[in-house]
Symmetry: C2
Subunit: 218 residues, 2 copies
């Protein structure tokens, strides 16, 4: 999946989820779903959404390898194109999720640190080590916080050819321009689109922004 | 929930899950469910199981506070009595999950480190800091690895009145006696029970062990 604008579809209603996915589809390159939606609607929502755009299952897997593999398998077997795993869980978990993803030709993204304040307590201190784990495991990309653009720059430098996707823009305070200037390949946007009175127009507007800055800085 | 023997019901089939829960019910004090079962059967499985024994949703929540609260709310509103959150996600996430749990008079358990090898890469280094976060947030207990009994001893010393539940015994190599001797209040057992040819007898046998050692060392 070419990384550009990913819609974080953090709603909990199936009809609303499908509606927003469909009206924004022309302007986004993928849909990120998290547990609130999947637990509310059932895992079949991934299959439904994957008929509209490739789906990344943002399950932030952080379990022992055995359980992590089962979770990844469920996501991919229900149509996910990519999955998100916590680097903090350790290299055995990341490698095991990667092994399952390979069976489905799926993508794996590793979280370096959460965009929330608590992400600085433990994860920030190990983010660069997590980048190394991600590279060794051969994953496709990293999830790094647009709320801390200076961190993206350093992660970009270390990540080599890994894609970097950044949540935390707009509603959480991060800047799309700063994130891309610092090295993001793709921007993850949730609330600014799905809570907009006109999700299609907002997706279009942000998509233009993302394209403009990718052209300017890449 | 009096912490003693918790069944980790890591099967993925609803009929099998209910069967094992029912035949082992007399010998266990709670049932821990993880995502593989919940994603396979739907979150309603928590409601069904909670009719048999109190359910701990082992969702190892490790997300930003906003999303973590939504996940916790879904678990409790579907009948969970307790939930598991990762301490490494930071104190804001742990506190937010605790806030939601309080609305349901539910319990919160914080993972100090995973029982897997990868748990030693980052989490072990911060386990004692995570104990402090858990105490400040006022959670009910900790999840600590029976695969490293020497760690339980130190966590017990620091945890004061927090309950300590230990996974990682038997199939993963940890000893029930060592875990309880080191300070565990409860033991979490999965494969040894649900993969047994006679889950009821195995649950009874392990329950007796747990009771014997709790009497001996507490």
């Amino acid at each position: 999946m070419a990384a550009m604008l990913i819609l974080a579809l953090d709603v909990m209603d199936e009809t609303k989820a499908m509606e927003i996915a469909e009206v924004t589809a022309r302007h986004i390159q993928g849909i990120k779903v998290n547990y609130p939606l999947v637990l509310s609607c059932g895992i079949e929502i991934i299959e439904e959404l994957s008929g509209v755009k490739p789906v990344i299952a943002d399950f932030k897997i952080a379990d022992i390898p055995y359980t992590s593999a089962l979770i990844a398998d469920l996501a991919f077997s229900h149509g996910a194109s990519g999955i998100i795993v916590h680097g903090f869980a350790g290299s055995d978990t990341v490698s095991e999720v990667k092994r399952v993803a390979d069976e489905y030709s799926g993508e794996v993204y590793t979280v370096t640190e959460l965009s929330s304040r608590g992400g600085e307590e433990f994860m920030s201190r190990h983010a660069y080590e997590i980048v190394e784990i991600a590279k060794r495991a051969g994953v496709d990309g990293l999830i790094a916080p647009a709320t801390r653009a200076e961190r993206i720059r350093e992660i970009r430098r270390r990540a080599r050819n890994l894609k970097i996707l950044c949540p935390g823009v707009i509603a959480q305070g991060g800047s799309v321009e700063e994130a891309i200037k610092s090295g993001a390949d793709g921007i993850i946007v949730g609330r600014a689109i799905y809570s907009s009175s006109d999700p299609e127009r907002e997706a279009e507007r942000i998509s233009r922004l993302v394209q403009t800055f990718l052209k300017k800085y890449k």
